[in-house]
């Protein structure tokens, strides 16, 4: 066996340090050179109850999604971990507390739920933590040590990350956590290994700083910073909050401004206001916030003001399921404003894509003078992946504004001048001689209110036609086909975070000899009709997996292209299972 592909699930209660342990684990293995994908699930509550799971997939080669089955489950709280015991594969292992202090009611201990094909590793986690540190708080570090010891990882990358992570809390905390880790490490090393979960050591370790571990939201922030985002207004909402939190740390250091507003209406209004003044501006929210922003987004469309809105979707409608993932805000993003208010909507499919889409969103907003919505979802926002950084500077054009022509003496500035591509040269307040009116009312080229039928028709056409340019936006992947070329039995069309699961399923189908290809559609508005039509023409069957109930993307496809597609719409609150997609591929290919 010369490959590595293992998935570890850490499961505990809020307050057990489960997510922190997952964080150290993924950073340590990334430092060793492995590719990593992780996704944390945590409760809406802060501490004391609610389930936390951190799943970490560690591979030698790049992969695209988590696996349905984990190789190792580590329980910090059996009441939460027991329902996940079945997720461990045969010959995989389950690590759990063998000496709980409290009495366990019958059936509440993990040992009673381990299937015959799985390997039980009862370890006295609390006792080890107490012996090593004098308290049970570092049980999560003990667990981390057990994992590292069991899998034969070097302890050094873990130790370095522990030192860094806890440095601010003082030397005592660092040394206690290191001692906890060490005692777990020895226990893991001394455990007689019965499972068959192996990690092949990496031959080469990436140069420091070349490969980074980022969450989707962190990548968005990195993209914003590299695109020189200047002003950000936001109101916290899961799962978008961490975008604002991270920007709040990063922006002031570079002299940029961030303001937490009183609500989402205020946030978008301020963003549009800043955009109007020429400041590069953005906000971030989730479905309920997007609903509140709908009217203001219409203003940005009408007044042709660049602004970027990051929308991280969660289970809806309404407050819905704040800590569960879903892709059900597509319709709201595409159509959620009154009037004919088309805007650009793009949806990255992985963490690296979050970075690129974030930066490109500003380019597009400025180039086409329009709101741009970047559609994320909880799975993508919170998922961590190893990302290889580009060697040269940020790949974004920071001067995408259509240049202003010098006005002739006495010439009047037409802010909404009709041009071939529909984009008018834009002046911002203060540009000499460029005084103009900006309003939400329909207006003429000068910006003055005008509701004549000819004007409204011409302006509507202008506002829509200029967006078509985005389909050829430089250095931007609007769609991408992967997999078998030419005619295929099954084509998978997907958008957003689900595309990773689609790729995994497609590669599994390839291994079974099924001819199939997948296309990701990153730009959802304006819609790349030609590229998608061409792809559909190549496929006997088109499968559209998405995590929403209505099949919103499938509806979009059918509305625009009037072609039959096979819908695979599910709302489990979690990513679409790869096996489900694979099952559909097999069925469509006639392989079952």
């Amino acid at each position: 066996m010369n490959t590595t592909d293992i998935q570890i699930a850490l499961c505990g209660s809020a307050g057990d340090g489960t997510i922190a342990a997952g964080d150290i684990l993924r950073n340590a293995v990334a430092a060793m050179g492995y590719r990593v994908i992780c996704f944390d699930v945590y409760p809406p509550e802060i501490r004391g109850f609610g389930k936390c799971i951190s799943r970490v997939r560690i591979t030698k080669e790049q992969t695209y999604a988590l696996k349905r089955q984990s190789d190792l489950l580590v329980s910090l709280d059996d009441s939460h971990a027991i329902p996940h015991a079945g997720e461990v594969r045969t010959d995989g292992a389950i690590v759990y507390e063998s000496k709980p202090v409290a009495h366990c009611p019958e059936g509440s201990h993990m040992s009673g739920h381990i299937l015959p094909g799985q390997i039980p590793y009862g370890i006295p986690l609390r006792e080890l933590a107490e012996k090593a540190t004098g308290g049970a708080r570092s049980r999560n570090l003990v667990v981390l040590g057990v994992i590292a010891g069991l899998l034969g990882f070097s302890p050094v990358p873990f130790q370095k990350i522990i030192e860094k992570k806890f440095a601010k809390q003082g030397a005592g905390v660092v040394s206690r956590n290191l001692a906890g880790f060490q005692s777990g490490y020895e226990a893991g090393q001394n455990t007689f290994k019965l499972d068959n979960v192996f990690c092949v050591p990496m031959e080469s370790v990436p140069a420091a700083g070349k490969v980074v571990m980022l969450s989707g939201n962190a990548a968005v922030v990195q993209g914003c910073m590299d695109a020189e985002l200047n002003t950000f207004f936001g109101y916290p909402i899961t799962p978008a909050t961490t975008i604002m939190e991270r920007l709040a740390t990063a922006m002031p250091k570079r002299g940029r401004r961030l303001l937490q507003t009183e609500d989402e209406i205020s946030a978008i209004a301020a963003t549009i206001g800043a955009g109007y003044t020429g400041s590069r501006a953005a906000t971030a929210t989730s479905g309920p916030g997007l609903a509140l922003m709908a009217e203001m987004l219409g203003l940005a469309t009408m007044a042709e003001i660049p602004c970027v809105v990051f929308v991280s979707q969660r289970g809806g409608p309404s407050t819905g399921m704040p800590t569960k993932t879903e892709q059900s805000d597509l319709n709201a993003a595409l159509y959620g404003s009154p009037g004919d208010s088309q805007r650009i909507v793009i949806a990255p499919t992985n963490v690296e894509g979050c970075y690129r889409c974030a930066g490109k969103a500003f380019e597009m907003a400025e180039k086409y003078q329009t709101p741009v919505i970047v559609l994320l979802d909880l799975y993508l926002s919170n998922r961590y992946e190893t990302v290889t950084l580009v060697a040269s500077g940020p790949p974004f054009n920071l001067n995408a504004n259509k240049p202003l022509r010098r006005l002739e003496a006495g010439e009047q500035y037409h802010r909404f001048a009709m041009t071939e591509d529909g984009v008018s040269p834009r002046a911002v307040p203060g540009d000499a001689g460029c005084m103009h009116v900006v309003t939400g009312l329909e207006h003429n080229t000068l910006g003055r209110p005008n509701d004549s039928d000819e004007n409204h028709t011409a302006m509507s056409h202008k506002r829509h036609s200029k967006l078509q340019g985005a389909l050829q936006h430089p250095d931007f992947t609007v769609t991408k086909r992967i997999g078998h070329s030419g005619r295929v039995k099954v084509g998978i069309l997907a958008w957003g975070s689900t595309f990773g699961e689609c790729l995994e399923a497609m590669f599994m189908a390839h291994a079974e000899g099924i001819s199939c290809a997948a296309m990701k559609v990153v730009m959802l508005s304006p819609f790349p009709i030609d590229a998608v039509t061409q792809f559909m023409d190549d496929c006997d069957h088109v499968l559209v997996p998405e995590v929403n109930y209505e099949g919103q993307f499938a509806q979009l496809l059918q509305g625009l292209l009037a072609r039959p597609v096979v819908r695979l719409s599910r709302v489990p609150g979690s990513p679409m299972p790869v096996e489900l997609i694979l099952g559909e591929i097999r069925r469509l290919a006639g392989a079952v």
Partner: protein, 354 residues
């Protein structure tokens, strides 16, 4: 023959078996056959499913993954709905509440309990302090550790030499290792040849290639130490001097029944759990089978142990029948005498595995 169904789907009978060995597994199978709806739970302190320990010496011939030694594939337990709690230590049985207490602070309730915990290797008092210098040999993990510690053509000092040890010894000799047997009254355990017969079998062992040291004549082993530099790893010291050396030391003094956790249960215990031929203990809800129990022998007028695979399996089957309302009696069908086989080697029904 499915003669009796003692529980219904609405209130299934809870059978708990402590021990995942030959007796426990045979009983579990029998219980399932007799009571399709019963809840069957096996509890074991081992992390592994039931595997064939009789085959452990074969690991010296060729390494085998432990999965190859499993008596049943994992699917067997799922198919028969037998729950196996592994890595769980039973610390006590509360016969009043009918609960099995586990080391991790959980109590498992039973309607009928079978104790099938077998035995642990017996170690004479004077050697307990040197235990860390002795290689145990009861599990797959132990066998791999011995294999690792033993250099090619290396030497093993085998203390005692019960039939488990002698089984290993014959394999090691075959593979050109040196085996130095230090005799003890438990040599040949569970057989007890005496006088001339014992001498005859010792002579056969020598012919087979074992180096036999008369432990009694040397006053018995008093200590085991690390060998000095340039000498083999271990030094075995005798009361009357005349140390011997080996790369590893192993002890095989027979097994003693694992019953400590039953001490406060109120059931009758002598050395093992005392049972009638129906394998029921003095508590009507508790049965015992395998190496852990002493069965009443009408013939000998004593409670006695019956060893060997065939006996232990038969006990598991009888226990299952009686736990589900039957009235069966255990009687041995196994020959108990040590003998010399056609190759001139010693042989024993204890080594038969079927």
């Amino acid at each position: 023959m499915v003669a009796q169904v003692s529980s219904s789907a609405s209130s299934p009978h809870r059978y708990v078996i402590i021990g995942n060995g030959v007796a426990g597994n045979q009983a579990a199978e029998g219980l399932r056959e007799r009571d399709p709806d019963g809840l069957i739970t096996i509890i074991t302190n081992s992390r592994m499913l039931f595997y064939n320990r009789y085959l452990l010496p074969q690991l010296f011939r060729a390494h085998q993954d432990w999965r190859a030694l499993l008596a049943y594939p994992p699917g067997h337990y799922e198919k028969h709905r037998i729950r196996v709690l592994r890595d769980c230590w039973v610390t006590a049985v509360d016969s009043r509440k009918r609960q099995v207490m586990l080391a991790h602070n959980e109590a498992i309730s039973y309607d009928t309990l079978l104790v099938a915990t077998g035995g642990r290797p017996y170690l004479p008092e004077e050697l307990v302090e040197c235990r860390h210098l002795i290689h145990p040999f009861g599990t797959y993990e132990h066998a791999l550790a011995v294999r690792k510690a033993l250099p090619e053509n290396g030497s093993v000092v085998m203390l005692g030499g019960d039939m488990i040890g002698l089984d290993l010894a014959r394999t090691l000799l075959d593979l050109s290792y040196r085996v130095i047997l230090v005799t003890h009254e438990n040599t040949f355990w569970p057989h007890q040849p005496v006088g001339e017969e014992r001498s005859k079998f010792l002579a056969i062992l020598q012919k087979m290639g074992l180096e036999v040291v008369d432990g009694d004549a040397m006053g018995g082993v008093v200590a085991i130490e690390k060998g000095a530099a340039g000498l083999p790893e271990r030094r075995v010291r005798f009361r009357q001097g005349g140390d011997i050396y080996g790369d590893i030391v192993m002890s095989f003094y027979g097994l003693s029944p694992l019953v400590e956790f039953m001490m406060k249960s109120g059931t009758d215990i002598e050395r093992g759990l005392l049972v009638g031929t129906n394998l029921r203990t003095s508590d009507p809800h508790i049965y015992a089978a395998g190496d852990v129990c002493q069965i009443w022998s009408e013939k000998d007028n004593v409670y006695r142990f019956y060893y060997g695979h065939r006996n232990v399996r038969a006990m598991g089957a009888v226990a299952a029948l009686n736990m589900t309302g039957g009235n069966e009696h255990f009687s041995t069908t196994q020959d108990e005498a040590l003998f010399q086989n056609e190759q001139g080697h010693i042989d024993s029904p204890f080594w038969a595995y079927d």
